[in-house]
Symmetry: C2
Amino acid sequence: MIHEGAYPVEPWHVREIELDLDTIAQSESVFALSNGHVGLRGNLDEGEPHGLPGTYLNSFYETRPLPYAESGFGYPEDGQSLIDVTNGKILRLLVDDEPFDVRYGDLVEHERVLDLRAGTLTRTARWRSPAGKQILLTSVRLVSLTQRSVVAIEYTVEAVDEFTRVTVQSELVANEDQPEQSDDPRVSAVLRSPLQSVASEVADQGALLMHRTKSSDLMMAAAMDHLVEVPGRVEVDTDAGDDWARTTVICGLRPGQKLRIVKYVAYGWSSLRSRPALKDQVSAAIAGARYTGWDGLLEAQRDYLDDFWDAADVEIDGDPVSQQAVRFGIFHVLQASARAERRAIAGKGLTGTGYDGHAFWDTEGYVLPLLTYTMPEAAADALRWRATTLDLARERAAELDLKGASFPWRTIRGQECSAYWPAGTAAWHVNADIAMAVDRYRLVTGDDSLEADCGLEMLIETARLWMSLGHYDRHGVWHLAGVTGPDEYTAVVRDNVFTNLMAAHNLRIAVDACARRPAEAGAFGASTEETAAWRNAAAAVHIPYDDELGVHEQCDGFTTLREWDFDDNTEYPLLLNEPYVRLYPSQVIKQADLVLAMHWQGHAFTPEQKARNVDYYERRTTRDSSLSACTQAVMCAEVGHLELAHDYASEAALIDLRDLHGNSRDGLHMASLAGGWIAWVSGFGGLRDDEGELSFAPQLPSGITHLRFRLRWRNFRLIVDVAHEQATYTLRDGPDGSLTIQHSGEHVELTTQEPTTMPVVAREALLPPPPQPPGREPLRRN
Amino acid sequence: MIHEGAYPVEPWHVREIELDLDTIAQSESVFALSNGHVGLRGNLDEGEPHGLPGTYLNSFYETRPLPYAESGFGYPEDGQSLIDVTNGKILRLLVDDEPFDVRYGDLVEHERVLDLRAGTLTRTARWRSPAGKQILLTSVRLVSLTQRSVVAIEYTVEAVDEFTRVTVQSELVANEDQPEQSDDPRVSAVLRSPLQSVASEVADQGALLMHRTKSSDLMMAAAMDHLVEVPGRVEVDTDAGDDWARTTVICGLRPGQKLRIVKYVAYGWSSLRSRPALKDQVSAAIAGARYTGWDGLLEAQRDYLDDFWDAADVEIDGDPVSQQAVRFGIFHVLQASARAERRAIAGKGLTGTGYDGHAFWDTEGYVLPLLTYTMPEAAADALRWRATTLDLARERAAELDLKGASFPWRTIRGQECSAYWPAGTAAWHVNADIAMAVDRYRLVTGDDSLEADCGLEMLIETARLWMSLGHYDRHGVWHLAGVTGPDEYTAVVRDNVFTNLMAAHNLRIAVDACARRPAEAGAFGASTEETAAWRNAAAAVHIPYDDELGVHEQCDGFTTLREWDFDDNTEYPLLLNEPYVRLYPSQVIKQADLVLAMHWQGHAFTPEQKARNVDYYERRTTRDSSLSACTQAVMCAEVGHLELAHDYASEAALIDLRDLHGNSRDGLHMASLAGGWIAWVSGFGGLRDDEGELSFAPQLPSGITHLRFRLRWRNFRLIVDVAHEQATYTLRDGPDGSLTIQHSGEHVELTTQEPTTMPVVAREALLPPPPQPPGREPLRRN
């Protein structure tokens, strides 16, 4: 856990004013910079102490064999692990003869600031060496959102009291030592020395290292160059070995004098391009960065972010903690996605090696809703990445004797990397999640190029998967057995409501897409007979419901399973303290599942059912998954438990600023950070689109005076400003100046002429707020 | 597969008259010798060629880490693997300068004979060396049933045409090279060089090697000594290294002259005893063997077997193939069990390293019924072995948050070694299988010492396990969810009928045992309240039944799962060709499960239900498990499909003589071999005891004229002689000369005065014989 006061509450910054070595790994994740292509953990400039040194390139991974003590047919043989690539952010400092190291001497002042509008990480350190020399160090680091290969660091050292000889060693380091792996199975397998040297080159003030992975056979290049400014004499020298390059800058500073170094680092990688091509690529990136210059990079970064925030910001009046946390979350999701450009958006972005750097359904299910409404081009890129893996998904389906395509539960490159099929392959819903994201993109943006280019094929192939997975019983009811829904504490079940509703949705949108594009559908072999069969199955899908209790069953028979004994077994997360063999057959839930179905497929439930279902499942949900709190927020808000929803909304957004799940050291939780946005926008704003319309049903918890959020719909930008009594919709831009939305079930036409204000339709809770399992009550906001 | 004519049909021998190097590994299993303490694969005397060199000591294993790509709480961390210990059966021969090797020169004659009454393996080879010298080699090998540490080999070489210089190197070899592992996950992990040298000692005509395992820290000693007889001059010399010892015998033979060597080998191992103690132990064993002498060992072996067969033989008139196969099976089960003496009886006995040498529920479920009725002291020993692991089972239960004891799914020493919990830990029925075997022992033998010493405690602790696993629903029905029954193609289900009936049986026999021994039960804390709760749960257990189809559901909802597409997917065994994620939610069955429930808990089903259930499940059972055919035989016989039962009875017994499952190379299938006995005795004899009485309901298939089997009940020996029209019961021995049995539902009093003949009550089949999945029809006997 990170204690509550660690980061002072500020609307646009995350500021650390004390360096706590016990939580240094967590702070490295919090202060990570990325543009979705290159990612740097917030390691100190001097490289150590560190929790986990980390420099990542999107989809630059090594394969490793997946071991099984008892193997089975269809188990993936190879895993993929994101690797720590050549570290270009190291600048070591010697003060006279003393290495600058915060563990020695006296750290008189320390501050790190992540600026969510500037897109920079600034560090200030005032340090007195063991010999008594004091220096003031300032570094500003950015990973460029406009030049995707470029990292830049402005590094300034000032002598304070007396003349000081200052030596800076600016480095590229490959194959850094990695700390020992944790026991938590969710933490990545750390790969040791995964890079083989290909080339190293040295220039006056810079160098280049090229490496290749042993097994996945990917080649990367990292280059650095420096601008050195200092009054008086300075010596600059560069040398390099296989796994390192070092530019050494030596000078003497009188009190008040400063050494300023601007370090440009560029990265490139490819599985195809030649050594010269890759070398030229990073050299060009360095040249481009020098051409733009430090100030130019800073300015472009801020412009990019200004534009982003203009259509993405969420303003929360009355809860500054949530305000900071939600912006922090949006910022990191942007960082994970902005320049991912047809590569995967991993569960932890490029902030750590947790989950081996894999992408899951988190991307389509949690990250893409945010991106689709705020940065649709990034959402399209992410879906086009999925489309590039369609052939692999078809091969996987064929291996499993299934039709269509079966997308992987976890992957970097597209191959299934899940070594535990009950919570991997059996979680077929990932396919419907992808399909839903494809369809939402079309709906929200009005851009049908994605559907035309690859979306239709993905919809058809996932529909075929569902048809081969499902079957009709002798009464004509359509079932899906042997599936695992979102809740990983109940696996390989029959008729999981979430999965069944999502599969039916997948089938229906595939039918509709084929109807929109009959010629292309025909080319993919989707006949009217086939699409009619999809529609029939969707209409006949079984939705288990417990008539006696008046609640939906998460899966067939769920409500008659044994109850979990929360009095005896309350060490969370349960998966680290209880065996699956006990968890699976109990009414204990890791994360919103039936409750998520009510969010994503809300039209399938009556308001009364929603209220009773929330009440039933809240009592049994441990929230051991980081994907849960945001959904609980949304559905608690919908059924009128607004204070509880507020608590969950904060949980979702604060997950990493407070290290609520105790594993932020391994990287940030992108889905939960996106979930912070979801909780406020879909929870208190009531945003829904599952019936093909833009709908809102806003209502605020008591502590919030105003909620203001921005989003894109077609060519419009929309500002929704919610107060307790009324909500105001402001439509900007757009082609013809008018847009029909739903406000609390009522159709309203918005125009770009003037804002539209509507009264808030208060929802009364049918039932009192439910309790949670002991010890899993969310942090209370009031 | 081993072709049909490989072993000529003889009633008491398995004879090989041609050496087929393609099936040499299978023949090594078939010709394995063992007494349950020491096991030798049927490797050629000269060591090679071989399929798998194998010398085993019961429960002498090495531990190895079990790898998991994705770990989980409660997964066992260490596996146990039976290891190939010091090979004492090697006698290499040089004919002049030419090593005797069947791959070179000319094997003029070859014969190996396993004699089921003598308990020996005899080999005869007439060989012409590449240089043209001909010799006649005879070796007779035995693993003593009366001196459990002792192996003896009589090895005779005769010169045929001309004077021949003969050199025999008789060896002890540790850490033999092992062949490459197969891809089949069921095959053992082969451990390389698991033995560390502790000591080696050399005497004139013998030597001793001591080794220790690296990780499991077990110490073993192997010693050899020789008796050498030859006309004329002979030189005998012995030397040794860390991993080998060699006694070299050199002599010259004129045509017709013979060199005869009797090699005595003794083994001992311990986890506790000191080096000197272990050394003395094997030296004493060698001394004992020398004292008894070769002829004495042979005679004792035959006496032991005569006594065994007198109460265990099954005679089948009309099917000599089955006759041979059933005796072969009984013989190997005896070999696996006779001197196991409170160590595990492994699934493959001591005939190979398949399944890592682990013991499963096979022991209590299949092997112990045979032993209890034919060699009850061995059954008692096996159950006392289980009792020695009770503390480990209690620890395992506690780890899983359960009460009582949870016995391992697979183990050598008692710790759970199953690395795949859905078909391991979740197969809780192993506990009820053990409990049933405990109770059967008391019932059949009348010996209550086992119950008093340890059986009661096992019954109580397994009853407690069930109580903590089960739960009542809101209607007062008792359920077991998250369980895996015998059928491993359907796992982690609700209310598996087999498991539920067996759990209820376990609870009831625990109640009864507590009632018999109230004082001891009290000492174990089993109050009347507790036992009343057991009885209530047993009475309230849910037994899923499909009213529409009129059949029992193997588990809740089974009959509504999708049907397996046997037209498309018929590569058997399915587990090597289809993923679990597809198998589990389909109506496809690996092995008798509901059908096994009808055998072991037959009183819970009406005759009509049995007939309909057999018909339903036969069509869906792939028999991919070797545990299936015998049960299908029994239930097909009971419902009147006598010809089909005959087919299955043969399948069970022929499994290894024909290599029907394609993996006999890894060791013999003890449960299926015992199943050969079960098929005839419980199938055509109709033996049952699940209601506490000795019951028969004999009826023969058309091709069989007589079935005669022998068994022990209390102090009686009983011969049951079944013909088509009548059955004759002959009671021998016994205290008071009379015994009441059931014959086809009618109580009959037998006396030792004279045989009792009863008419056979023919059972008409309610339904026509069912079909099997395509390609899984059993071999037809007619």
